[in-house]
Symmetry: C2
Subunit: 267 residues, 2 copies
DNA sequence: GAGCAAATTCCGCAAGGCGAAACCTCTGTT
DNA sequence: AACAGAGGTTTCGCCTTGCGGAATTTGCTC
C-alpha cells in the first residue's frame, strides 16, 4: 500500500502532522464519548506513539479533554467555545436578515450588520440599496468602534469597565470629523444610551453617515449592531431620527428572539 | 522574548506544527468572520508561507472554508458538524438521565443508553442496578449492532439503505445464540418495527438479556437507543414485554423533547 | 497600463517529527 | 501478594518533511 504519497495528490501544501492530528480530532469527536489512545491508534492506523503525541497536543490546545481517571479523551472546551461563538453569530445573521431586507426597502439605503470584534466592529452582513451612489462596507471588514454608528451603539451599551478599556486604546482619526476627544465621545455615548440609537456624520468616511442600534443578547450585552448608512446629503436629521426609531424596533425584535433557545450544552 | 522554546516547557510531546495550526484555527474561528492569510500571519507572528500551509491543510480537512472570491478563510463545515454531533449527544444524555434513573428503580436492573456508532452501538451512559449479579457494560464501549437489543432497536428504525449497508458487513458471532443469518435478523427487525422494542437473549453475552428501544430525532432517525439489561434468569418474557412497553414510553418522551430546539445554524 | 499588495510557488537546509522498542503502571487474576 | 497482560509513557537515532526567505504570479487600484 503506497501510503507515503497518499495525500500528496490532494494538495502539496497539506502539512501531514496537522492533517493526521485533525483526523484524530475528528475521530474522537465523532465517537460522542470518551475514547482511549489505543483505540484511536488502531482505528486510524497511526502508530501509538504518534497518536499519543497528537492527543497530547490537541489536549494542550484545549480541543480535547483528557480524563485522567479513565485515561480517555473526548471533546474539549476550546472546540465547544468556538462552536458556540460561531452558532451565535450565525443565529444573529439568520434572525436579522429578513428585517434587514425590509429596512433596506423601507429607506432605500444600505443596511449593515456587525458584531463586536476586538476593539473594532466587524461587518457580518449587509444588504445594499440598489442606488448608484451608495455606501459600501464589505463583509469581514473591520472598522473602529469610535468612528462608526455601529461601534458607538455597541460602546454605549457595554458594561462600564469594558467601555473604558475600549476608549483607552488609541483612537484613530479616520476623517476630519472623527471624534477623538474622550470627553466628547463619552458625552455622545450617554446620549446614545438615552435615545437608543447612535448617529455618525462623516466621522468614518467623508460624505457618509450612519444610524446604528445595538443588538443585545439575553444578558443585555451588545453582541452586535444594526445600522443604515447613506450619503450625508440624502439623510437629513429628521430622517435619521426616524431611521433610529425603526432600527430600535427591529433590533428589539432580534434581541428578543436571541434569548429564546434552550442551549443544549453545558456552560 | 524567548519564544522559540516557549511551548516546550508545557509538554515535550506537543507537536509544533499541530499546535500552531490549531492556533490558526482558533484565530480564524474567533474572528466570527472571514479573515485573510496575511492577517492571520501577522496576528500570530507565523511566517506567511507556514500560515498558508496551515490554512490549506485546515481547509482540506474541512475545518476551514476558503472563500475563493475574497481569498479569505472562515469556519468550515467539519467543525460545525462535530459541534452539532457533540451537542446532540450531550443533549440526549442530559434528557435521558432522569428517566433512566427512574427506570432503574422501577425494574431494579441496569439501564443503558447508547448512540449509533459506525456499525456498532456505543454506550454513552448507564445507570447500574445495585445488585451483586448485574450486567455491566462500560461507557465508551462498543458492541455490534446485530447482537444487542440496543443495536437491533436502532437497526429496525434505520432507513432501508443504511440498514442494508450495516447488515452487509460481516456479522460476528458473540455467543452460540448470536443471530448471524441475514434472513433471521431481518425477520426479527420487522417485528421490532411493529412492536417498537427489541429483545436479545444471550446473543451478546452468555446468560444476559436485554430489552431496547430506539430514541428518534426530529426526522425520525434513530440516533440512540435505551435499554434495560438483566441476567436471563431474572427476566422472563412477560417482564421483558412490560419493560419494552415502559421503555417505549420513556423513549417517546425523550424523542419528543429532542426536536424542541430551534437549531441556530444552517443545515 | 503601471504599481502595489497579497497570494502562491520554489528550493535547500536541518529542525524536529517519526515509530520501534524498551519501560512503566495500572487492573484484574490466581 | 505475586503475576500477567493490556495500555500508556519514555527513549533514541534516523531521515523525512516542515520551514521560511526569496522569487513569481495574481489581482487590484490609480
Amino acid at each position: 500500500m503506497p501510503k507515503t504519497a497518499a495525500r500528496a495528490h490532494d494538495n502539496p501544501y497539506v502539512v501531514q502532522p496537522v492533517m493526521k492530528a485533525l483526523k484524530v480530532l475528528e475521530l474522537v469527536a465523532r465517537q460522542g464519548h470518551e475514547i482511549a489512545l489505543t483505540a484511536v491508534s488502531k482505528e486510524l492506523r497511526i502508530p501509538k506513539t504518534t497518536t499519543f503525541r497528537y492527543l497530547q497536543t490537541l489536549t494542550a490546545a484545549g480541543f480535547l479533554d483528557h480524563n485522567r481517571a479513565t485515561d480517555r479523551y473526548n471533546l474539549g472546551p476550546q472546540l465547544r467555545a468556538i462552536a458556540r461563538a460561531d452558532a451565535s453569530v450565525s443565529k444573529i445573521r439568520e434572525l436579522a436578515r429578513p428585517a434587514m431586507i425590509e429596512l433596506m426597502h423601507e429607506f432605500n439605503e444600505t443596511v449593515n450588520l456587525a458584531v463586536k470584534g476586538n476593539g473594532t466592529i466587524v461587518y457580518i452582513d449587509l444588504i445594499e440599496a440598489n442606488r448608484s451612489l451608495r455606501m459600501q462596507a464589505r463583509i469581514g471588514e473591520s472598522h473602529p468602534m469610535h468612528s462608526t454608528a455601529l461601534g458607538k451603539a455597541i460602546l454605549a451599551f457595554l458594561p462600564e469597565a469594558e467601555r473604558r478599556r475600549q476608549l483607552d486604546l488609541p483612537l484613530t482619526e479616520r476623517t476630519g470629523r472623527t471624534l477623538i476627544e474622550r470627553e466628547e465621545i463619552e458625552r455622545q455615548l450617554r446620549q446614545v444610551a438615552r435615545t437608543g440609537y447612535a448617529t455618525e456624520m462623516g466621522e468614518n468616511e467623508d460624505g457618509a453617515m450612519c444610524v446604528g442600534v445595538p443588538v443585545l443578547d439575553e444578558d443585555g450585552y451588545p453582541v452586535a449592531a444594526l445600522s443604515i448608512s447613506a450619503p450625508l446629503m440624502r439623510m437629513p436629521h429628521s430622517l435619521a431620527a426616524k431611521a433610529g426609531m425603526r432600527l430600535r424596533e427591529v433590533a428589539a425584535g432580534i434581541s428578543a428572539r436571541l434569548g429564546s433557545h434552550p442551549a443544549g450544552a453545558t456552560r
